[in-house]
Symmetry: C2
Subunit: 108 residues, 2 copies
DNA sequence: TCAGTATTTAAGTGATCGCTTAATTCATTT
DNA sequence: AAATGAATTAAGCGATCACTTAAATACTGA
C-alpha cells in the first residue's frame, strides 16, 4: 500500500471507520467523545483515527489535554470522484459537484 | 459484513480488484483475458471476480466455454455517491444541480 | 468417449487486521 | 511533586485475507 487512493480505500474498508467519519461529518469531536459512542476501547478508536488521518480523511489538532478531530471533506470527495471518473465515465456530473465543494471551502 | 455499502467498500479495498474494475471499464472481458494481465493465478482472479460480483460491481454471463465479465457502472457510481452525500453534507445542496446535469445528458 | 481448454472450488498457509490489556506520554490541578 | 485524566503506543492474539496448488466441473471438438 503506497498511494493516496490505496490509503483512502483501505481506510474506508472498515465499518467502524466509516461510522467515525459519519460522526465527524456534523461536528468536530475529541478522541474521547468519539470513543464514547462505540462499544470499543479508546485505544481501538485511536488506532482507527490514525488510519483515517494517515489517509488524509481527518485532521487532528491538540488543544491542551484534548485532541480534536475533524473530517477533511475535500479529500474524501475528490478521491472518490476521481476514482469514479476513472472507472465509470458515466459519473461525470459528480465532478462538477466535487469542484463546487472545493470552491465553497476555498472561499469559506 | 452484510449491507451493500459494506460489500462495495470491502471489494474496493483491494488494489488488484480496483485494477480489474479499471480493465472492465472499457470493455467486457472473459475471466481468462483478465487473468492474462495479472501476475497472479487464474484461481486468484476468479476469487477476486467473485468478490466483485457479490458486491454488485460486476456481472457475469457464461457463453459456451467462457465466462464474460462486465462492470456494473451504475452500482459503483450510486454507492459511492450516496456514501459521499451522507458523509459530506456540504454537497447536498449541489445534488439538485448534479441531477439536472445528469438529466440534461440523458436527453441530449 | 476421450482429450483439451476455461473456469471454479477446495484446502492449506503466511501475512495482515482489529481488537484487547497494559504501559507510556503529555497536560492539568492541587 | 504527586495524582488525575486524555490519548497514544506496545505487545499479543484470534480472525480474516490473499494468495498458492491441486482437484473438480463444464464445455468443445476430434
Amino acid at each position: 500500500m503506497q498511494g493516496m487512493i490505496e490509503k483512502v480505500f483501505e481506510a474506508l474498508a472498515s465499518t467502524p471507520r466509516r461510522r467515525i467519519l459519519a460522526y465527524l461529518a456534523h461536528s468536530e469531536l475529541t478522541a474521547g467523545q468519539i470513543a464514547e459512542r462505540f462499544a470499543m476501547s479508546k485505544s481501538a478508536i485511536s488506532q482507527h483515527l490514525n488510519v483515517l488521518e494517515n489517509a488524509g480523511l481527518v485532521r487532528s489538532e491538540k488543544r491542551g489535554q484534548f485532541v480534536h478531530y475533524a473530517i477533511v471533506q475535500e479529500n474524501l470527495a475528490t478521491t472518490l470522484n476521481s476514482y469514479l471518473q476513472q472507472v465509470c465515465p458515466v459519473s461525470r456530473p459528480l465532478m462538477a459537484e466535487s469542484r463546487a465543494i472545493a470552491e465553497t471551502k476555498a472561499k469559506g
